[in-house]
């Protein structure tokens, strides 16, 4: 799709909130997106002269992406960097020459000069680092997914309930303008009742990174091994399952699925192809598919309603009624006569005839030009909400105000991913365990 456009906007959180219509009376907006409640223009004014002192744990590709975003934030400064891989640390030091460097994150956490830490490390390190950082009295921003195991997720969730520190996970779609407005439209009934959710993420990339020496294979290509990663589910699906729950305002109660190494048979352990069906208690399903050996279909988070379809990733929606109206009267008459003729075939009713895709009029969720993420970058995409969530975290480091719903959304999304992997591994239907349910969304 050639709709990839760039909107030149101010990167500040204030402008973001303004774009969302907060200033022109966004009460309804804040009711549906409570995590934005703290970011009023008044708060932005209050912290204008303050800076959050941020330490970076993990300065690899995603860490560098986050660092560049934080450097552009007025109310933050990077004061410390930590990485165990010297080339990454060197690269980060070049970007932030005044920051103190560490090779042991525990030493970084001991520093009293750091308000918050941004953790951009492999998945298996998320839980220990997050828990220790909270224990050390730091505000924490951690990349998704929440953790490698359900036990770790629960431990983080419980630690968060007890701490007065801020905890963010990189659920950047919660700060993506087109997702927020799209959700408002869904919840206002624009596409009717949600009857299905269909998410997919297709890439054609082996997920490998060059390894300077063989002993570093697992350290650098950690995404490919179960010991460090949960594969496609936590790396890609976690964002999309979060969106599904957000749209549905419910959590699926069970999942079935299948996964394989279909193409990249290069010694990796994690699947390169997954297909899952998550079921809500009301019968609605999430169909999830991901494949990293064909990128034709790209990435999409599609919410299907009985009155329309919301393609959140590309920021477009389609209405069922509009599709019907587009045909002229005489074409509709011809269609109706045709339907009657075919329906009279004694072998079957009208349902036997295939309904090929009709022509739908696309409507943009946002007015004007906006950024569409093609989903191909492993690091991150411009204007996908990452900058805004980082800015929100830095602001929260100053105000100390917890971000509503962010941890809960990350917790549930991660658990759904891990349950999906469990369903694939055990080749059975897996239900959401009672002991891991939290008082947030209904099941």
């Amino acid at each position: 799709m050639s709709r990839k456009k760039t909107k030149q906007v101010d990167t500040s959180l204030r402008q973001f909130i303004k774009d969302l219509g907060y200033i022109s009376g966004g009460t309804a907006l804040l009711a549906t997106t409570p995590w934005l409640q703290s970011f009023t223009p008044d708060t932005a004014k209050e912290i204008k002269n303050e800076k959050a002192r941020i330490g970076f744990i993990g300065t690899g590709s995603r860490g560098m992406y986050n660092m560049q975003a934080v450097l552009a934030i007025q109310h933050a400064e990077i004061v410390a960097l930590c990485d165990i891989y010297p080339p990454n640390l060197k690269q980060a030091t070049e970007l932030c020459p005044n920051a103190k460097t560490y090779t042991d994150y525990r030493k970084l956490l001991e520093s009293p000069d750091i308000d918050g830490v941004i953790i951009s490390t492999p998945l298996y390190l998320h839980a220990p680092m997050t828990l220790q950082a909270l224990d050390a009295g730091k505000h924490v921003y951690c990349e998704k997914a929440m953790a490698l195991t359900m036990e770790e997720c629960k431990a983080i969730y419980e630690a968060y309930q007890k701490t007065n520190k801020v905890l963010y996970f990189c659920m950047q779609r919660m700060f993506d303008e087109k997702y927020i407005k799209g959700m408002q439209m869904i919840h206002s009934g624009l596409i009717g009742d949600i009857v299905g959710e269909r998410c997919y993420w297709f890439r054609n990339h082996d997920w490998r990174r060059p390894v300077p020496s063989p002993e570093l294979e697992r350290q650098i290509n950690w995404r490919l091994y179960w010991e460090y990663s949960a594969g496609l589910m936590t790396e890609l699906a976690s964002h999309q399952l979060e969106v599904c729950c957000w749209a549905m305002q419910m959590v699926p109660e069970s999942v079935i699925g299948t996964g394989d190494i279909a193409h990249w048979k290069d010694g990796r352990e994690v699947y390169d192809s997954v297909n899952l069906v998550y079921s809500y208690s009301n019968g609605v399903k999430i169909n999830y598919e991901s494949l990293i050996s064909n990128k034709f279909n790209g990435m999409e988070d599609q919410i299907l309603g009985n009155k329309g379809t919301m393609n959140l990733a590309t920021g477009i929606y389609y209405l069922e009624e509009a599709a019907g109206k587009k045909r002229s009267g005489i074409e509709q008459l011809i269609d109706q006569i045709g339907n009657k003729v075919y329906a009279s075939v004694p072998a079957a009713g009208p349902s036997w005839r295939p309904e090929t895709k009709g022509s739908y009029t696309p409507y943009n969720i946002l007015e004007g030009e906006f950024q569409v993420n093609d989903g191909l970058s492993m690091i991150g995409a411009l204007k996908d909400g990452s900058d805004e969530i980082l800015s929100a975290f830095c602001q929260a480091c100053i105000t100390g105000e917890k971000g509503k719903n962010i941890v809960e959304e990350a917790y549930l999304a991660t658990l759904l991913c891990l349950l999906g992997n469990q369903a694939i591994a055990e080749e059975r239907k897996v239900t959401f365990p009672e002991e891991y349910k939290i008082p947030y969304m209904k099941f």
Partner: protein
């Protein structure tokens, strides 16, 4: 080679039938606009469909006339 002569009466008759078919097709289009509550601009924009329906009706009428003619010829013998 024998010349085929089409009389003025015949031309007038065929033109009348064609006009009747066009009127019928036009009415179908108007009826569709009313039934499906679409734009009245379709009177002009859907003229292609009207012409196709006109020709289809004309062919159907011609076929019926041919059958009637053949039956008439057979019963006359």
């Amino acid at each position: 080679m024998k010349d085929i002569v089409i009389s003025a009466k015949r031309v007038k008759k065929e033109a009348t039938i064609l006009l009747a078919c066009f009127t019928m097709a036009f009415i179908i289009n108007v009826a569709s606009i009313v039934i499906y509550k679409t734009s009245w601009l379709e009177i002009f924009t859907q003229i292609g469909y009207v012409i196709i329906i006109t020709l289809t009706l004309y062919l159907v009428v011609a076929f019926i006339r041919l059958i009637i003619y053949l039956i008439y010829r057979l019963t006359k013998r």
